[in-house]
Symmetry: C2
Subunit: 490 residues, 2 copies
């Protein structure tokens, strides 16, 4: 079992501990803070709920976590030592001296420093070659970026080994070969932070407005393409050089308070255009636009599921779009109950298609589940009812896939109630594109008490709504394809 | 039908046109560029595939698109006029004069300018009150942010009306009340761009490294929480004031080339801490951490589906985690075929749970579909085979939900082949947490020719692999619950 020593167990050290532990390493912590164990426990609780499921494969068994009163004890047997002590050089130097007196000389000592250069950390060390910067981003157990910053004192084999270990932990080590204050990412964060302070101080924007200006716009873009690839796409077919010719002169304008600008020489333009070709040239601008749009749709829809940020905005917009349509309101607000009831009307989103170019089979159930949710709302099992302690759990589902459907298609689902009495609810959904039947989804549900998680009768209002639908639909023939088992061999 | 006039039809004007059209507005375009129609057509093609499905409700019928040789003709009947001509003040002034001579005096004239202040645009206009800045972000048809910048010439009712129209279009109008060069978001982009130019020029990082430094780290964070809320969480329970006390001094260091910094007075610290409380104080830090983690997991998993950026990294990590396990390789690499075959082993991710606190019903099928994909790979229907033109399409699925499962649970799926001959493949999946059977999923598939989309026989290799499994599993009893219809009423 590999072992890592964690020196300093705050939010960052704790995040490292979680990353190692959940990837099967033993973790040995040194932190004089009497609260260290509690603090790391809190980070671990967050990490345990979020990291393992991020993967579609099983993580190894969790390693063992131990706390040690002496640094020398913590580093025993450790092949990776991660230093996350306060950002004061004299403290770091003292810690490195103590570490190097006790640790294995081949162990990698990574520093979480956001500001110091590795040469500053290595100065005066017994074995400078052992020390590198491995600067992580919070939350360390989820975000992949590690700035691996080295000096000429670090040999190539050691850097390769560090990079390999970080990669095994699911991280993205970016080797910064030419050291610089604050490395790379924090220089950008610093620039934005300074500009933000001016905006708040000058009363132009509040902290909330600044945050919205980020996460409703370029923040979503930057989660999937960075600065240069984004601008390459914005420049269109004319390419990166054209974009810079347009955008370059703006640098002369006094927009930001931050005004030291490199000379916009042909040499710099060529350097950037060439690097951009090497980075993104494998895709045409048209391809990059579609990749970008696929990513944006997938992420924004992911945020919808969390009802947060741009996703919360989209949910509000959906409510507005449904307002006054048959897709909202209770059973009394639907005109005609005698026919299957419209429960879903939507376009097939980009993130619902698979490698065959058509709607992924799991998404049929997502659409049918939305139809079931709408039907539940219609009979009075809405968010308020669920909060009061009752809901329906699905016991069985049967889906028949009858025709293909592609991204962008407008689909509608109409729902028949086959059984709706007592705790039983049996629905039959039919999905159409225009007149074409694409699929059917049959669902059998039981009403449950959310406290006991056991079947229980629904409210009288729900029973009454089900009665109303049952009598309205009494004359409909039993639907074709309902109540069937999957076809037998032969 | 509402009508909008689009003045200037490049990437930005085209994006506006798409946003209006897909929300049911008629759009009247003026652009002297002979390629305008083609260019807008290209933007529309991108928008049609991405915007409608972003919504879970149906968008209205698309409006009518028309092109006009005269500005006066384009603005006829328009209640919104969006100007997106080149960023030169004298051009903008000329356009506004022509627009105001022809348009309805109550129409809103929004300018897409990224650099000019509204007072500069309004200067010399016939009706300054009619002109506002409505600055969008590319792609305009997807990203919600609009900086709505006004001056004292704009009355409150007009601003409210503009804000309402933008909200109806699914956008997020942010009213910037105190005008400033480049508004808000572009000041940040500008600061980052300048710093990036230095890094490239000084040979510290390439364009690709800079992009990775953004999208593997803070870019993902900023898609869901901005600068201040992110730092509030990082500061932990000690709060925003504590965070600033720690981070403040770093501003004195010469990190960036951009060094004009506001004085870090108590007044500024209090201003920010108070605004941050107003913005985020409704949630405890612990809640914000979990909200953040839910968002990050959901977005990173969304990027996995697109195999891009941090998502592509996660996919690579999954491949490494599966390496050498029974979750990879062909039929000959699995030791024991005589028992149901392990096809999925994973933890339940945060984005798979629903309002009941347990795994969403649609996600059972996602897990079973992954099991089916793995089984297909096992018998030789892998990515290469699919690229060569053959695949399996699911015809029917039957799921029984037997027990609840929560986020973080380690689940495993074992798969029985009930039928595997000719074009037919009938699988029976059992999902477990430990020894507890959580659900079963029965799938009936047909092998298809991806060109004709019709059933066709699979390759000999696949037939041989199915034969091997069939004879190994011949003695297994028919599984409990297979071949059943959904229970009948009574």
């Amino acid at each position: 079992m590999k072992a890592a020593a964690i020196i300093g167990g705050g939010v960052i050290g704790g995040g490292w501990a979680a990353r190692f532990l959940l990837n099967g390493w033993d973790v040995r912590v040194f932190d004089p803070d009497p609260d260290a164990e509690r603090k790391i426990g809190e980070v671990m609780a967050n990490a345990r709920r979020s990291l393992p499921g991020l993967s579609d494969a099983p993580l190894p068994e969790e390693g063992r976590l131990s706390f040690h009163a002496e640094m020398a004890d913590a580093v025993a047997g450790a092949i990776w030592i991660q230093e996350s002590v306060p950002e004061r050089l004299e403290i770091k130097h003292k810690v490195f001296a103590e570490l190097q007196a006790a640790c294995h000389p081949d162990a990698i000592i990574g520093s979480s420093t956001s500001g110091f250069k590795p040469s500053e950390l290595q100065a005066g060390a017994a074995r400078p070659a052992q020390i590198v910067v491995t600067h992580p981003f919070n939350p360390v157990y989820l975000l992949p970026l590690i700035e691996l910053v080295t000096t000429s004192a670090n040999d190539a084999a050691q850097v390769a080994r560090a990079s390999e270990q970080l990669t095994e932990l699911g991280m993205y080590p970016m080797h910064v070969k030419k050291e610089i204050d604050a490395h790379i990412a924090d220089r950008f964060l610093e620039a934005v932070w300074r500009e933000a302070l001016w905006l708040v101080k000058d009363g132009i924007a509040t902290t909330e407005e600044i945050d919205e200006a980020i996460r409703m716009g370029f923040g979503i873009r930057w989660a999937q393409m960075g600065l240069f690839e984004t601008y390459r796409v914005a420049g269109g077919e004319a390419g990166m050089k054209h974009f810079m010719a347009q955008f370059g002169p703006a640098l002369k304008w006094p927009w930001t308070k931050l005004t030291d600008v490199p000379e916009f020489t042909d040499e710099l333009v060529d350097l950037i255009a060439d690097q951009s070709d090497a980075q993104s040239g494998a895709h045409s601008i048209r391809e990059l636009e579609r990749i970008r749009d696929n990513n944006l749709v997938a992420m924004m829809r992911a945020l919808k599921g969390q009802d947060w940020g741009a996703g919360a905005l989209l949910n509000k917009q959906d409510t507005r779009l449904r307002d006054g349509s048959p897709l909202t309101g209770g059973v009394d607000e639907i005109g005609d109950l005698s026919q299957p009831i419209l429960t879903v009307a939507r376009a097939v989103p980009l993130d619902w298609t698979d490698y065959n170019g058509h709607m992924n089979e799991a998404k049929y159930l997502e659409a049918f589940a939305a139809a079931t949710d709408r039907f539940m709302e219609l009979i009075g099992c809405d968010a308020g009812y669920i909060a009061s302690g009752g809901s329906y759990f699905t016991a069985e589902t049967h889906i028949r896939h009858l025709a293909e459907v592609h991204a962008g298609a407008r689909i509608a689902i109409r729902t028949r109630m086959l059984v709706g009495e007592g705790k039983k609810l049996h629905l039959f959904h039919s999905m159409y594109e225009g007149d074409e039947l694409l699929a059917t989804g049959e669902s059998f549900m039981l009403h449950v008490d959310l406290k006991t998680r056991r079947p229980s009768p629904p409210s009288r209002e729900i029973e009454a709504a089900m009665d109303q639908i049952r009598s309205a639909q009494a004359d409909l023939p039993y639907p074709d394809g309902a109540g069937m088992a999957i076809r037998q061999p032969g």
